[in-house]
């Protein structure tokens, strides 16, 4: 089960949904909204998703985890919209006959989804500015603290020369 949702995540219900008599190990990963990023105080996040493709890709990642580590029962939910500090942004749960497969499958899913799901986060800062995270032009320009609603024109010369790929 994979879901993109703008509603609060019911973790207990998700956990119950994975319970099975043949599973002896369960683990979950929760990603929370943090109050800082690269030295700047963060007041909240906005997540935006290309939901059709993100859901298809999310299901693909879960199927890959099943192929590699199965049998394993898995579920994953990713929030979109505006989230406050401390809120749960992403949840991955895995239940398996033994703990090793549950840990590995859970780790695989969170690592892959961070790299592959078409979801973007925008950080809102205490000072009132905001910026998309991992804006590659900012990174290419070496602007470690460059995070505001900017006109990217200023980044162009450095970005044109940069060879970096996205993280």
């Amino acid at each position: 089960m994979f879901e993109i949702t703008s509603k609060q995540v019911d973790v207990d219900a998700l956990r119950r949904g994975l319970m099975s008599a043949d599973c002896g190990g369960y683990t979950a990963f929760e990603g929370w909204v943090r109050d800082h990023h690269k030295g700047r105080a963060v007041s909240g996040l906005h997540y935006e998703a290309y939901a059709d493709l993100a859901t298809a890709e999310g299901l693909r990642i879960l199927a890959e985890a099943e192929d590699r580590f199965g049998p394993v029962r898995m579920a994953c939910v990713h929030r979109i919209g505006d989230l406050e500090v401390g809120e749960l942004a992403v949840w991955v749960g895995a239940a398996a006959p033994h703990r090793d497969e549950a840990f590995k499958a859970c780790r695989y899913v969170i690592d892959e989804l961070k790299q592959r799901l078409p979801i973007w986060k925008k950080e809102h800062y205490i000072e009132g500015e905001s910026a998309w995270v991992d804006c590659e032009r900012c990174r290419a320009a070496g602007h470690g603290k460059h995070h505001h609603d900017h006109d990217h024109a200023e980044d162009r010369p450095a970005a044109r020369k940069a060879e970096g790929e996205s993280a």
């Binding site: 998703a49 290309y50 961070k114 078409p118 979801i119 998309w132 991992d134 990217h152 970005a159």
Partner: protein
């Protein structure tokens, strides 16, 4: 010969384009050619190699053939999780 395609934008590409979606009649044969046309129109100020492209909600190669009615999405580097 032209095709009419529907383009959806996300994150900073959406902000740059100033619209979430647009229909565009194009002589472009591929997503790569379409990107060049739209970049000239919107000045996305990035390079294609930083992006991926999806056609009809599936990842696609940049040299696939465009068809009338296709939904095209250019995908900036992702930051979910």
């Amino acid at each position: 010969m032209t095709v009419k395609v529907n383009i959806s934008y996300f994150a900073w590409l959406r902000e740059r384009a100033g619209v979430e979606t647009e229909q565009f009649e194009t002589s472009a044969r591929t997503p790569a050619q379409l990107w060049t046309e739209l970049d000239a129109r919107h000045d996305f100020n990035t390079e294609r190699r930083h992006l991926k492209v999806a056609v009809n909600d599936a990842f696609s190669s940049w040299d696939a053939s465009l068809a009338d009615g296709d939904r095209i999405v250019f995908i900036p580097p992702v930051s979910g999780g």
